[in-house]
Amino acid sequence: MTTKKSLSASIIAGLLASTGMATAQDCAAPIKVGVLHSLSGSMAISETTLKDVMLMLIEKQNEAGGLLGCQIEAVVVDPASDWPLFAEKARELLTVSDVDVIFGNWTSVSRKSVLPVIEELNGLLFYPVQYEGEESSRNVFYTGAAPNQQAIPAVNYFLEELGVEKFALLGTDYVYPRTTNNILEAYLMDHGIAAEDIFVNYTPFGQSDWATIVADVVALGEDGKQVGVISTINGDANIGFYKELAAAGVSADDIPVVAFSVGEEELSGLDTSNLAGHLAAWNYFQSADTPANAEFIAAWKEFAGPDRVTNDPMEAHYIGFNMWVNAVKAAGTTDVDAVRAAMYGQEFPNLTGGTAVMLPNHHLAKPVLIGEIQADGQFDIISQTTEVAGDAWTDFLPESAVLKSDWQTLGCGMYNVETETCVQLTSNY
């Protein structure tokens, strides 16, 4: 009852907002794009790059004639890696700066912080980072990987190609590793891995004392099964972990490690010569050998400096921004509901080859890449799948298997296919 009321309220709010925006069409004011990335605090190192890539994309678009005959103006704010501040700044962007779309956030908790605000004010957010799924918001497009676009293919690679029979799931203690590992545990058990062959360990952010954990992982091999490590260890804790792996002489041939949060940037903090052969799974690596990628890297280096590397969330913003531009062109307006309707089925070429498609569940269909760490800190892509459709609700947890997200035809992000009802229209934050 109550949710329905709030829904109608938000629809009214949305209509009001859209009439307000209609005046922007005659180009009395430029089209505004909010950039909500931390420029200070612990997340700044990752997010500043994304702010820069947004500025580059907007500049390129303006050079190409802008959008709907208007120039695009970037509104950059700094939520300072402070989660409540994300909500505050999002509200400011939508009500004070009146932006038409927001590109931003990194980490699930920052997204959960802005979700209520974006949904209340009917905004539009493009979230560019790989995440744990189990969420679907009408107002968010998830251009990063869902678990089935990163974790599941990587585990398949372990099972199929490396013949791993015993898994160590090591993660930092927060929501992304927890949920991902839950999904992986269920998936592995479906594939005949016994519960006692799955070792799970959670460590705090910035953990540096890895000796015991690495010893535990090595000892897993005592029943003669091939051991593999699935790492969702976050940020600089990886440095101590890989250093300890190297010190213990664990080679990728003995115990392969696949990481979901280690990219080109993280590797710059350590000497990778002892780590060659360990793996990472992403939708994008800088080493991808395509003309589009070469062009993107060249443009990026020209814009930001010759030493800068590119990474997966940057590609996500690249695809997301271009799709949004095309959707606005198709809709002929920046009105959120019209753009949202025009987003479905939008196609844009990936930097790694193939075409990304925006699905009705607000996720992309993208290829999954697995790369081996090389001595120079880059990744050697050894496996690339065809496009995998992102899945908001995983098929491997019983509570989520019955849920489906389809905003285009069903108009619901949390649709229970068993009872054929919409559980809720807002997202679960």
């Binding site: 009852m1 709030s6 908790v109 912080s113 744990e132 927060y174 949920t179 959670y202």
Partner: protein, 385 residues
């Protein structure tokens, strides 16, 4: 009561100022001429809550001499206590709506499972942990806002004061307490959603259709009222005979003990009372912030609290209010990119990067050269004419 205000004119001045401020904000808000946006009203409301905990901090440190580096833990507990009800009640509404559509009425177990799945699904669980036992009752959770910080402070303080842990040792111990609490809450196993914390707290169950402009104004009033009441309460505590004993403990604990006062009881009372007020401030703060998570109660937050009080001026309640309001608003102005970058030719000073350096150094300067803080300026104003 009259005589209390006569003896403490600054309290009266403060209440009048706060009243005028509230009226002014109402007129400028979207309910009035619409000059102040809803997000700014939320910032002001949050700042009032920070002022309240700063006043509490001033009493415990500036008046009683206990430098607690853990009062933000109590603030956070208050936020968590009220946040649990907000999350539970909101989710319950959603779940009941969705289950009502089924052909067969749900069992209590199914309802509880569905709520649990909604709340804990994102952290990979659906079981209700024990700490959520009272989450369905607003009254009990509000009681916990007061009881849990109070009890924690009582037990902690009793142990510490009884063993005569004083001075810097106590500071480090309180810091360890807030560190332990935040580490505990960071764990997913703590049952409070780990790093994600509790979110969506700005949506008040039962007021789904009320616009945030109204809700934020209501919370602003509530925060102002809480600050006024808290200020009066503490002004009353630190005036009169008890206030004299408390200040005497700060200046020379042993001498007060020799005079026959039970020092530990006084300290415990002040410590517990300020913890409770901190809890109430937190309970009002987080519904305005929208999300609470363990990073909020990391040790650094309590240190900033001490910084506000020191810059505002210790040993005077309005000093704490000024410090908290001034430094926190200035902080958000600087870090929010509000301050223009200064181009020095060879280097551009970007305030988002340099603000903390400035804050840290100005803090050193205040300790060294202006121990009375900003509040000390009022002494000049009062004495000069």
């Amino acid at each position: 009561m009259n005589s209390f205000f006569l003896r403490n004119p600054s309290t009266l001045w403060f209440l009048m100022g706060l009243g005028l401020f509230t009226i002014g904000v109402t007129i400028l808000s979207e309910a009035g001429i619409g000059f102040l946006s809803t997000s700014f009203i939320k910032i002001l409301g949050k700042t009032l809550c920070l002022c309240l905990i700063a006043v509490a901090m001033d009493v415990v440190w500036g008046y009683c001499g206990i430098l607690s580096l853990g009062h933000f833990a109590f603030f956070g507990i208050g936020g968590y206590a009220v946040g649990m009800w907000l999350m539970y009640a909101r989710t319950e509404g959603i779940v009941l709506d969705s289950l009502a559509a089924q052909t067969i009425p749900p069992t209590p177990q199914e309802i509880s499972d569905a709520i649990g799945n909604q709340i804990f699904g994102v952290v990979g669980s659906s079981e209700f942990p024990l700490v959520w036992a009272f989450a369905d009752s607003l009254f009990l959770q509000l009681l916990m806002v007061v009881l849990v910080p109070g009890l924690l402070a009582l037990v902690f303080g009793w142990l510490a004061f009884r063993s005569r842990v004083t001075g810097v040792y106590l500071s480090i111990l309180t810091q360890a307490m807030t560190l332990a609490l935040s580490l505990y809450l960071f764990q997913n196993d703590s049952g409070l959603r780990g790093n994600n914390g509790l979110s969506g707290l700005q949506n008040i169950p039962g007021f789904e259709t009320t616009p945030q402009a109204t809700i934020s104004l209501a919370f602003f009033y509530a925060s102002a009222l809480a600050l006024a009441l808290g200020y009066v309460l503490f002004a009353w505590v630190v005036s009169g005979k008890m206030g004299s004993v408390i200040k005497a403990i700060r200046d020379n604990e042993s001498r007060v003990r020799f005079l026959g006062y039970h020092v530990e009881s006084y300290k415990l009372l002040v410590f517990t009372l300020t913890a409770i007020i901190a809890g109430i401030a937190g309970a009002l703060y987080y519904p305005q912030a929208g999300i609470i998570n363990p990073a909020e109660i990391a040790p650094i937050a309590s240190i900033y609290l001490a910084v506000w009080v020191a810059i505002g001026g210790r040993g005077r309640l309005y000093g704490a209010v000024i410090g908290a309001a001034f430094v926190s608003l200035l902080s958000s102005w600087f870090t929010g990119g509000g301050a223009p970058a200064i181009n020095l030719g060879f280097y551009t000073v970007n305030w988002t990067d340099w603000w903390l350096v400035l804050l840290g150094l100005s803090f050193v300067a205040v300790t060294l050269f202006f121990p009375k803080g900003i509040g000390g300026l009022f002494d000049y104003l009062v004495r000069k004419p």
